[in-house]
């Protein structure tokens, strides 16, 4: 587990008790059959526990637990991973962080306040359908027309788009990138649900047909949204990593226990050297994943020079090893591991969903190389 201060302990324990009570695995299966995948009341209670406000400064209505907002958020994301918890954790926090950093006063009083209270949901629409699905590739156009801004293009997949009240859109604009906060009921917006592998997280495709917003919708400086996008990608990845490590931990612990309990040929599985060596590898991947997830969060928190390289290194590594670790857990369970009744798939689904989102391991590896080329050597 990540290192914690006493304040963080209290925060984590409260959240853990709440999640254990509210989302045992039968409940997750039940939510799996619903459109939204979570209940609004559950999210409001989570907001009361601090789930939406960690990465928003106090003067904007938020507040971290420990003074290290990103680390606080990773602790929360880890709990989401180890419980395969429902709810728009990442999308809401990304929008809250963006509004907290770059939003106007009106945006703080309206959308942000409501997101912080758990009354409304935000999501970030960044990725676009192929062939515009490169990491950070943005083709959706924003044009200035008669003092307003008109958005045209498609974003997909967008997490919780049907449940969201506010969609933060990254668009090509004024020769660069701009971010806009678009309300869900804007004219010209078509949201089509997608099917997905996660039990409770929902994704949709969002089409913008001449969606007209006023300049009040701009978040941050027009045409200068590139670095904001990079920062938000880094935050998204840091959340993903912590959540994946949590899901990996659940799979690892459960499978290790299974290897002690399950006998074949008169011996526990745990006594076979082949099995032991597999666990040694998995333990190494797990600890390495913790280490780089923690290093990535700290690099982002401290805004280190090589922040994006460390974050991308994390996605490259955990993206490769996380999926393999959980698939190996399935393999070591044998037949029961591929049934719906066993809980393992809930965690496999959670970790796997995070692998391509906000940049695949391969895309992040390429981002590392780009950065090495640009700087000669990042050290």
């Amino acid at each position: 587990m990540f290192e914690r201060s006493t304040d963080q302990d209290v925060f984590v324990e409260t959240t853990r008790k709440f999640l254990e009570a509210e989302c045992p695995s039968p409940k997750l299966r039940e939510l799996g059959r619903t459109d939204a995948g979570f209940e609004p009341d559950f999210w409001r209670q989570g907001a009361e526990l601090g789930w939406t406000s960690l990465v928003v400064p106090e003067e904007k209505g938020g507040g971290s637990v420990s003074g290290s907002p990103v680390l606080d958020l990773t602790l929360l994301a880890w709990e989401f991973g180890v419980h395969a918890a429902p709810g728009p954790l990442s999308p809401t926090n990304l929008v809250a962080a963006a509004l907290g950093r770059w939003g106007t006063e009106e945006q703080h009083d309206g959308p942000l306040a409501s997101i912080l209270a758990g009354e409304s949901i935000g999501t970030w629409a960044l990725f676009e359908p192929p062939p515009a699905d490169g990491l950070g590739q943005v083709e959706l156009q924003a044009e200035n027309i008669e003092g307003d801004i008109v958005l045209t293009g498609t974003k997909s997949p967008v997490e919780s788009a049907l449940q969201a009240d506010h969609i933060l859109v990254t668009a090509r604009h004024n020769g660069g990138l701009s971010h806009f906060l678009v309300p869900k009921d804007a004219a010209g917006l078509t949201i089509t649900p997608l099917r997905g592998i996660d039990m409770t997280r929902r994704f949709a495709s969002v089409r913008f047909d001449d969606v007209r917003v006023s300049t009040d919708a701009v978040v941050g400086e027009v045409g200068k949204g590139q670095s904001a996008m990079e920062w938000l990608i880094d935050l998204a990845v840091v959340i993903e990593l912590a959540e994946m490590v949590g899901a990996m931990q659940w799979g690892f612990d459960t499978t290790l226990q299974w290897s002690f309990d399950r006998f074949s040929f008169g011996r526990p599985l745990a006594s076979y050297q082949e099995i032991k060596h597999r666990f040694a590898d998995m333990k190494t991947w797990l600890e390495a994943s913790y280490a780089i997830a923690d290093a990535a969060a700290r690099a982002l928190e401290g805004n280190a020079d090589n922040r994006s390289v460390v974050v991308s290194a994390g996605k490259s590594y955990v993206g490769r090893r996380g999926g393999e670790l959980l698939q190996d857990c399935v393999q070591l369970h044998g037949g029961i591991g591929v049934t719906f009744d066993h809980d393992l798939h809930l965690f496999l689904r959670r970790a796997t969903t995070n692998i391509p989102l906000y940049g695949s391991p391969a895309q992040h590896a390429a981002r590392v190389t780009r950065s090495l080329e640009a700087k000669g050597d990042v050290r």
Partner: protein, 429 residues
Amino acid sequence: MTEPLVSERTAEMEDVEAFGARARSWLAENMPRADPSAGGDFIRQHSDEEELTRVARCRELQRMLYDGGLAGICVPREYGGQGLTPAHQVVLNREIVGYDYPVETQIPTFTPCMAVILEFGTEEQKRLHIPAILKGEEIWMQFLSEPSGGSDVAGAQTTAIRDGEEWVMNGSKIWTTGAWWADWGLCLARTNWDVPKHRGLSVFMLRIHQPGIEVHRIEMLNGSREFCQEFITDVRIPDADRIGGVDDGWTVGTRWMYHERTVSGGSAYVTRPTGQRQGPANADWASRMIRVARQNGHLEDDRVREMIGETYADDLVGEALTSWITRKIRTAELSDQAAAIIRLYGGMNAVRHATVGFEVAGNSAVAWSPEDHGEIGMSYIIRQQACIGGGTTEMSRNVISERVLGMPREQTRDKDIPFRDVPRSAPHR
């Protein structure tokens, strides 16, 4: 030599910042800058003359550090050290970045060898050897592995038989890096064949260059001749050079292994500039791959770009993992056996680097012109060394599963019977 009293020492202990300032200015005035092209790694193609020159230089540099009050930061002052703390060593590691220093003679001299002497040596042994080590006068090697088996260290067959105030040693040790230019060996030997294997061992300090010890240099498949095998024939060792109790060598051995494992996590006895890594996964690896790929015209190939980024990512993960595990061991959240996680990661990571290098270099990895990067092919050919030397990765996996995860131990056939009766490999060589 006059030594201040303990209480005065404590009161006077230099605070970390003052130490850092002193180290910075002393290094700037006295220490030569490092040659950035030097590897810090003897497993490269050097002539013997170049290597001996460098060893002599390392001794001089060590002596300079000693005279400058920067040797043996965590070694008590009565043995010539500074009597400071690991935090001071961390500061020195930071300040020494960019300077030449005795990089090649840190390990195994300072740890595990010096660490073992400090922990188990008699007062006399410590006063004799520790200052000599800190002055660069003694370079130590581990006489540990034997040709009969690498991983089963406690199965040592090199034998010492008591003869009055002396011991007579016969046998063979292997995989000692640089024994041909080193001075002393820390040697694990069997002193009793009639008890179970862990209960019949003793540890000796052995002068390497003496009659009866023949140092043979092993040629590795990449042409390196760094590793040695020693043939020990009727060598007489004074009992005063025994470390730890008779037949109690495994008590020493256990700590010896522990100190060896601390190497990867950054031992407080070892000076290593911050950010410098071991093995082929060095800081320049990715930039070098980028250069090679650019030369070959493959740098725009997505797969090549991904492989390069991935290996660099894996290096950063390795660094993060090392400090992560080291911290957890320090806080007792994990047992010190968890160092095997770092070893397993390091081995697999180095293997991956060699493979990526080989793929990126393409044809030029197997046939190259003199000005080309031929060592990439050779690194690949000797790739598995990273998973063998210092304990195989199979052993690490046993340690992790058994000692860290508590899974059942492998069956052995050597417990509770006299070592004499334990089945052994037929001798070879």
